[in-house]
């Protein structure tokens, strides 16, 4: 097992990693989020469970599993947009029993990273009624206020299980999280080095960051980038320019030359801040962090032990009223939630327009 000092070091120094077994037995059961508290808060857990749902792909392994929050009785749910790219590949499960519902995109808001969907009825009027969250102002919350959320019991498994209740506190000041843009997670060679490789026009990849979009898409050291998102690239500056025009979560196509073989690869971009912080793959978040972790107009920060898959679920107070939507697992200690004030008006507007689309006025 790895052991980390808390001391943070800036720079590129490569430090030795030592491994050693834990010498003393450590307690298995967390006290704050353990069974004791779950028993005590069983009513709250039920309340929270009825208002969230799971979303997963229809592929064989059915991963990933992410959370959604019910915001309208007619099957309207909010999700974290950057976690659910091609909606047609996913189904939403509102309970352990249902077969899963297909979804229709009502609104995708890339600024807030929110996706509003409605479940599609297989037959007219076949949708059961759903229980929408009841919102409460988040501005009243300050450091130390208890909050809770539903969390996927085992994020590594695609099995549907009742979500667990997690309890924690508002841990820091509400604030805007500026965006640092998107990144692929590659280190690129200069023009001479690329030319020296004799591969041709393009940009040579010198290294690929751990768990980065580039690594997940299968890009390798030695690949020659030729086109990024349809743009020809001749130097690293151009690659950065093209990538910076996109948001974390966007899918872009990268064309490259591997040896003499031309390849076309789809890459899902992540927040640049995430890629840089995790370059060497030290997953001090333990469970990973979200694809998009920044560029939010306002967030509540809390210390709930959640995973990236739990994003899209609502953040509740201990009365079971919703304060906002969990939007990004940011690091080992922080999860961000969009406070309801940020999206309430927009959401009402999207719902209103979808429920009552403008009617054609008959011509006389």
């Amino acid at each position: 097992m790895k052991f980390f000092w808390l001391h943070v070091v800036f720079g590129l120094a490569v430090l030795p990693a030592f491994c050693r077994d834990v010498p003393d037995s450590l307690l298995e059961q967390p006290l704050l989020n353990g069974p004791e508290l779950r028993r005590e808060l069983a009513g709250l857990q039920e309340e929270v469970r009825t208002r969230v749902a799971w979303v997963r792909t229809q592929e064989k392994d059915q991963m990933p599993l992410v959370m959604a929050t019910c915001v309208g009785e007619e099957g309207y749910f909010l999700l974290k947009a950057s976690e659910v790219v091609q909606l047609e590949n996913y189904r939403l499960h509102a309970s352990l029993e249902d077969e899963g519902f297909s979804m229709r995109e009502v609104r995708r808001d890339t600024e807030l990273d929110l996706l509003l969907v409605q479940l599609i009825a297989e037959e007219p009027d076949s949708l059961p009624p759903f229980e929408a969250v009841r919102w409460t102002p988040a501005t009243l919350m300050s450091r130390g206020n208890w909050v809770c959320a539903a969390a996927i019991t085992d994020p590594k498994s695609a099995a549907l299980r009742p979500p667990d209740l997690r309890v924690g506190v508002i841990s820091a000041g509400s604030r805007r999280i500026p965006g640092m843009g998107a990144a692929l997670g590659i280190q690129m060679a200069g023009p001479e080095e690329t030319a020296g490789s004799g591969l041709g026009e393009g940009v040579l990849i010198k290294s690929v960051a751990a768990e980065s979009p580039a690594q997940q898409a299968g890009l390798r050291k030695g690949d020659l980038l030729q086109q990024v998102a349809g743009q020809a690239v001749a130097d690293s500056k151009r690659v950065n320019e093209v990538v910076q025009k996109h948001q974390p979560g966007d899918l872009i196509v990268v064309q490259l030359l591997r040896g003499i073989k031309p390849l076309s690869v789809r890459v899902r971009l992540a927040s640049r801040s995430r890629v840089l912080a995790n370059w060497e793959g030290d997953d001090y978040a333990n469970g990973g962090i979200s694809i998009r972790t920044d560029a939010f107009p306002m967030v509540l920060q809390h210390d709930l032990p959640l995973h990236p898959q739990d994003m899209g679920g609502a953040l509740f107070d201990l009365q079971g009223l919703a304060l906002g939507i969990n939007i990004a697992r940011s690091d080992r200690i922080s999860t961000f939630a969009l406070p309801v004030e940020v999206f309430r008006e927009k959401l009402e507007d999207w719902l209103e327009k979808d429920r009552h689309p403008p009617k054609a006025i008959p011509l006389r």
Partner: protein
């Protein structure tokens, strides 16, 4: 493109923990009684909702009130410490600017550090003494004239028990004006001779930051994390109290040349009304070689009466390997006997240099 890794954690081996000398533990208990009048009201309040260790809704509400009452007072004393290219946390514990932090933050006496105060202004501090084995460290704000806001210390480390509520403050990842001091609420999971383990989740930059009990008293200094979210380690007050004057005088505490003190090789369980029951023994260990048996109860170590398992661990680890020690033992059948034991060294702690 140049890679710029902005934040990187240093991985190191675990330090095995040393123990607290007995005399001091007793002395500290006296000090705690003297200070109890000050916090008497708080203790009474805790009594209203049972102990301060459960997790009922009423308890959660009570904890929230406590934490929200203390946060605005305590966060004024939580500072960022920067030295070299690292960032960490410290907490001011006296009006003239004494700072408690982790030894791996100060690294050695005399090191100059930049301090970021909670309002964003800068000051300077100098590292004082440290105890590298337990990761306890002190520093001093260079400006001793300002009346610094400071926090109170729970001087008796033995008062901290597993299951009790606590909260952590710190500057994880470094200074962030919009975010401020970050709060985490949790419970004490484990208490050892020199450290505490809690589920207040820590990360890089929290090092040296304070852990408080719900009476707002300092009970720990953030030290280390393992991968697990429940694996957050803090230096307890024990090593600070043990070497307080020496560390203030810029001494580097070297309790043991190597390792973490004496080793017996038995599993102690607190017995009633005092002493520890030997639940199990490591074969060929000093305890086994001396003839101790599972089912024995150790009543005294030397002349000292053993209070409980923690006290026992502290008594053993406070002595050096090789020391000859007399134990008073009660067998399962009730007969008393004396056992002579020669303390060993914890397995795996041999001299490596």
């Amino acid at each position: 493109m140049r890679i710029c890794v902005s934040v990187r954690l240093v991985m190191m081996v675990l330090l095995v923990l040393a123990g607290a000398p007995v005399g001091l533990v007793a002395a500290e208990r006296g000090a705690d009684v003297a200070a109890a009048g000050e916090v008497g009201a708080d203790v009474a309040a805790a009594g209203e909702v049972g102990a301060d260790a459960g997790a009922s809704l009423a308890q959660l509400q009570w904890i929230q009130e406590r934490v929200q009452r203390w946060y605005p007072k305590l966060n004024r004393s939580v500072v960022v410490l920067r030295s070299g290219d690292g960032t960490a946390t410290g907490v001011v514990v006296s009006e003239d600017g004494l700072i408690m932090t982790a030894a791996h933050v100060t690294s050695k006496p005399g090191v100059k550090m930049a301090v970021v105060l909670p309002d964003g202004t800068f000051a300077r501090a100098t590292a004082l003494g440290l105890d590298p084995t337990t990761d306890a460290g002190l520093a001093q704000l260079n400006d001793r004239e300002t009346k610094w806001p400071f926090v109170r210390i729970q001087r008796y480390a033995g008062a901290v028990r597993p299951g009790q509520w606590c909260f952590a403050l710190g500057h994880p990842g470094g200074w962030d004006a919009g975010r401020g001091v970050v709060l985490r609420v949790g419970r004490v999971l484990k208490v050892t001779a020199n450290s505490l383990q809690t589920d207040c989740v820590l990360m890089g930059g929290d090092s040296g930051g304070p852990l408080f009990d719900v009476q707002g008293r300092l009970i720990g200094i953030h030290s280390q994390i393992w991968e697990g979210r429940q694996q957050n380690m803090h230096v307890s007050m024990a090593p600070f109290m043990r070497s307080w004057e020496a560390m203030k005088g810029s001494a580097v505490i070297q309790t043991w040349g190597t390792g973490s003190g004496g080793y017996l090789g038995l599993v102690p369980v607190s017995a009633e009304p005092f002493g520890v029951l030997v639940e199990d023994l490591v074969p060929e260990s000093p305890a086994a070689l001396a003839g101790l048996l599972a089912g024995d109860t150790v009543l005294r170590v030397g002349r000292e009466e053993v209070q409980d398992d923690l006290h026992f661990a502290a008594l053993i680890r406070a002595r050096a390997p090789g020391e000859r020690l007399r134990l008073q033992v009660k067998a399962a059948g009730g007969e008393l006997r004396r056992v002579e034991v020669v303390l060993g060294q914890r397995p795996g702690e041999g001299v490596t240099e």
